[in-house]
Subunit: 157 residues, 4 copies
Amino acid sequence: VPPDARAPHIAVVGGYEASAAVDADAETVGRLLAAAGAIVITGGRQGVAAAVSRGATEAGGLTVGILPGRDRREANEWVQVAVPTGLGETRNALVVMGADAVIAFPGRYGTLSEVAFALLHDTPVIGLGAPEVEGVVPAATADEAVRLALLSVTRTP
Amino acid sequence: VPPDARAPHIAVVGGYEASAAVDADAETVGRLLAAAGAIVITGGRQGVAAAVSRGATEAGGLTVGILPGRDRREANEWVQVAVPTGLGETRNALVVMGADAVIAFPGRYGTLSEVAFALLHDTPVIGLGAPEVEGVVPAATADEAVRLALLSVTRTP
Amino acid sequence: VPPDARAPHIAVVGGYEASAAVDADAETVGRLLAAAGAIVITGGRQGVAAAVSRGATEAGGLTVGILPGRDRREANEWVQVAVPTGLGETRNALVVMGADAVIAFPGRYGTLSEVAFALLHDTPVIGLGAPEVEGVVPAATADEAVRLALLSVTRTP
Amino acid sequence: VPPDARAPHIAVVGGYEASAAVDADAETVGRLLAAAGAIVITGGRQGVAAAVSRGATEAGGLTVGILPGRDRREANEWVQVAVPTGLGETRNALVVMGADAVIAFPGRYGTLSEVAFALLHDTPVIGLGAPEVEGVVPAATADEAVRLALLSVTRTP
């Protein structure tokens, strides 16, 4: 059975460095998204992107990594479909462009740019300990973040 | 078993309109690439991109579509992983960026730009009735095009 | 005398809609930047971008507009060098990329993405009633914003 | 008097390495374009881009360089308005996007991609010893190339 373009596509963003707690939460988010049949999109590199891709892959899900550089090999090992862009950090706009909803973990300015682009294009953003930006829906746990993200997709016309 | 980031990634480019003969050849190319375990990358829309994605999907392969617009739904129905870019035709550079080799069918200036970008980045291009550009390796049949493309990947260090 | 590539390049960002007070402040910022010999970069469209370009042009300065679309004519009439990108809002990253410093007026998520990209690349951001983002240096008046922006350029190695 | 957004915008493309003859022709093209009040757009780096920008600047014209990297300082010294993009060679699409017409000197695949993008968007391309691509209008001399480029602008509705 091929991956389904009609499956929910959820982007997960966050810092290149993740604390142990964030790493564990991100892995859980990946596992829950995969279990729900969602395709997981990330920036394809270390930190939150690696943890969520690891969780999703281990649960049998599909992971896509939108990379800043031109070389597929800069993806972490749990990215199954690596998309080099050569756009540098400008690729942040593309990480969230293909998503029906975004889950945001703590990060720095790169994460903030992704949250801004998602909201700019009216894509729901669920924050898990993430930037306090007006319009981000806060979640208390990985479980709740996934539930809210999938719910927001269902509601999208 | 997840799709393998280490599988050969082959981009297939060509016109938005395809003759019956080109359509049949493109479908064959897609089927043969899938049978060889390659991931098929296209621009995700009509013509050659649709035919090759159809062939690959029906043979159980994985297809990726790098779209010009911002909406995943502009992909043809055989694109399994749709990557909206919002870059317009500038996304042509990205269609070939993630590929180990490119198979080029007849097309117009968009296809020419893709061939140019592939050659600019030293990615082998196999032409099947395609632009007479210095550096493109001509193939006589769909079979030969796929064989040459996969061979060029093997040879890449 | 040609415009000087060694002149300070200051990007000014803010919303597509500007209140009368913001419009007046933006025009003043443009006039002061031009008087200081700075090149003014904006997103090239309405609101803050138009007001600051108007002020700079009327004071004899040079204005550059980095446009989202493919058509030069979408620039406001005070943009002297219009750069169409066809990147849509992803061009926000480019608006601040060429700047030595950024002055941010109130705006929405597009402005937030520009502030995020500037800070991501260690470009100083002066805020004039603008987003409360960690790292943005607040200014109380147009005068102070210009002074701080030019000062930050002088300090850059 | 500010540069005029309504002036003809002519992109000049060609290789990073230029023979003495091409260098001289490119400088002449720059000088003639400036004399005609046109704004000259290039990729901003060495070879043809440097020669044409030198000619235009010395004749009092305005030159714009659309750069592949993120640093304004990678522009040659005759680029007056440097626009860093961080897009790598993908920026080739943007070099010709803002132009009413393109003059193409000999080059390699980068130049071919620029010619392809111009023709894709129905922008007239005048070739001066340049790629034999269907749709390129050949010119025999720098003088004729400039004349044909400006004429094609006049004819554009």
